[in-house]
């Protein structure tokens, strides 16, 4: 490595000599490549200036004393840049350490928050959840009750990165600890609201949509804690309506009570749950309208639910030039004909 630097130094002098004689672009391209080698080898700016002084002295043994002094002066000015450059090297190492820590945490989060899509006779379920960055601040979860019912949670942390991930793991383990049946959507939200209010930084909020599907009655019961409203597709009228549901986000006030709503799901009907990462997709500077989402969903509605959500995601991924601004979670339930 020391030898390589000597080669580069000699190279520098030759290139400089050539440049002084011809002022050609090739020498300048050459010095660019040599400089990159220097940086790779942690050669500091002041050492380049010194190299320059030495090369000049060799080429012009009678170099005017004044120029010599001016170059020494320049060298001195470069020391501060050299120091900044070295701090940068250290910072870079630390950054890489943090990055690898975060990537371990992200893969852990994936395992921790993992949920299995259940099989329910007569119900076709599709779900996709893609984080905008490494850590996912969206969350969805399925619970299959012993009575045959299906619990579905879709949530979004307002806040991002590591704190949001910690927050989600709390939600997940709180929900895991509930007795399997017997809890209604509004009771679950009420309970979670208390957990969040007690444990989480006041700057962090969680929105959640909790639904319980009762296959025997083809009934969907649901409550919302300030969550982005989903959509209901009525096959009979071939039309979409917003699933209205009011409720305060989790973690604001300890005594919040939630309303509970219900919806009859007929053959061919669909229930679409999502996070604001779907509805707030952007096309350039413009936010898309919810009609556009429904159009795209309709376009793929002949497909099985899992393929539907995948195609819809791909559509909006491309529209946004493959750069998600927010986590994207889309869940579709279709009652089979």
């Amino acid at each position: 490595m020391g030898d390589m630097i000597k080669v580069d130094a000699a190279n520098y002098k030759d290139l400089m000599k050539h440049y002084i004689e011809t002022q050609d672009e090739q020498s300048l391209y050459g010095v660019e490549q040599v400089s990159k080698e220097f940086i790779k080898n942690n050669i500091l700016p002041e050492e380049i200036v010194n190299l320059h002084i030495q090369a000049l002295a060799e080429l012009y043994p009678n170099m005017l004393e004044d120029f010599q002094h001016s170059m020494d002066f320049l060298l001195e000015a470069m020391i501060a840049y050299g120091m900044a450059h070295q701090e940068y090297q250290t910072l870079r190492e630390k950054q890489n350490e943090l990055k690898s820590e975060i990537s371990v945490a992200a893969s852990m989060q994936k395992t921790l928050l993992g949920t299995t899509k259940p099989t329910i006779e007569g119900l076709d379920i599709g779900v996709i959840s893609v984080p905008a960055h490494q850590m996912n601040g969206d969350y969805h979860h399925f619970v299959k009750g012993k009575d045959g019912s299906l619990g579905i949670a879709v949530a979004d942390v307002i806040g991002k990165g590591i704190p949001a991930a910690l927050c989600m793991s709390m939600i997940k383990y709180s929900m895991d600890s509930y007795p399997e049946e017997s809890m209604t959507p509004k009771a679950i939200l009420k309970n979670l609201n208390r957990v969040v209010e007690r444990n989480v930084d006041p700057s962090m909020f969680i929105t959640m949509f909790y639904a319980q599907y009762l296959p025997a009655e083809n009934l969907l019961q649901y409550s919302s804690a300030g969550h982005e409203p989903g959509f209901y597709y009525n096959a009979a009228t071939d039309s979409f309506t917003e699933i209205e549901s009011k409720g305060l986000v989790l973690g604001v006030s300890p005594a919040t009570e939630y309303n509970q709503y219900e919806l009859k799901v007929n053959q061919g009907d669909m229930v679409i749950l999502l996070t604001d990462g779907v509805t707030e997709c952007r096309d350039g500077e413009r936010f898309i309208e919810s009609e556009e989402i429904l159009d795209v969903i309709k376009q793929y509605s002949h497909l099985p639910s899992q393929e539907m959500v995948t195609q819809v995601y791909k559509h909006f991924e491309k529209l946004q030039e493959f750069e998600l601004r927010d986590d994207f979670t889309l869940l579709i339930l279709k009652r089979e004909v």
Partner: protein
């Protein structure tokens, strides 16, 4: 009348040619020494990408000369493999030149405007503009 001048990039020598042409244009329209050197560096980065990762490609220059501003546009086009994950190559330190501040994020910083379009298997088109201050 703003005629376009292009340089084909096939061998390393062509990188030098592209720099030379870009620098000449930059000098003529009034860029100072430092900006000339920065423009040449941006050309290097784009041309080296073509030379290293694409079969063929070219870099074209255009002078922008309006009443209110003058500048240089460079467009680098190749039909190489394209860029799989655009957000990744735009991350600092991702490219092979990691730690040098170079690569495409470097070009973006050296110039005033930057736009990238790429399709896997079809190639990449990068456009960058710098204004005379």
């Amino acid at each position: 009348m703003n005629p376009q001048s292009c340089v084909n990039i096939q061998k390393e020598w062509d990188i030098v040619g592209a720099r030379q042409l870009g620098r000449d244009i930059a000098r003529k329209i009034g860029f100072g020494t430092v900006d000339q050197a920065r423009i040449a560096t941006a050309i290097s980065e784009l041309a080296r990408n073509i030379y290293l990762y694409a079969e063929t490609g070219q870099i074209c220059f255009e002078v922008i000369d309006n009443i209110d501003h003058r500048g240089i546009t460079m467009v680098a086009i190749d039909n190489g493999p394209g860029i799989d994950d655009v957000s990744k190559v735009m991350e600092d330190g991702y490219s092979t030149s990691g730690g040098l501040g170079a690569g495409l994020p470097g070009v973006k910083r050296l110039m005033d405007e930057f736009d990238l379009q790429s399709e896997a298997g079809k190639g990449t088109r990068i456009k960058a503009v710098k204004w005379v201050r």
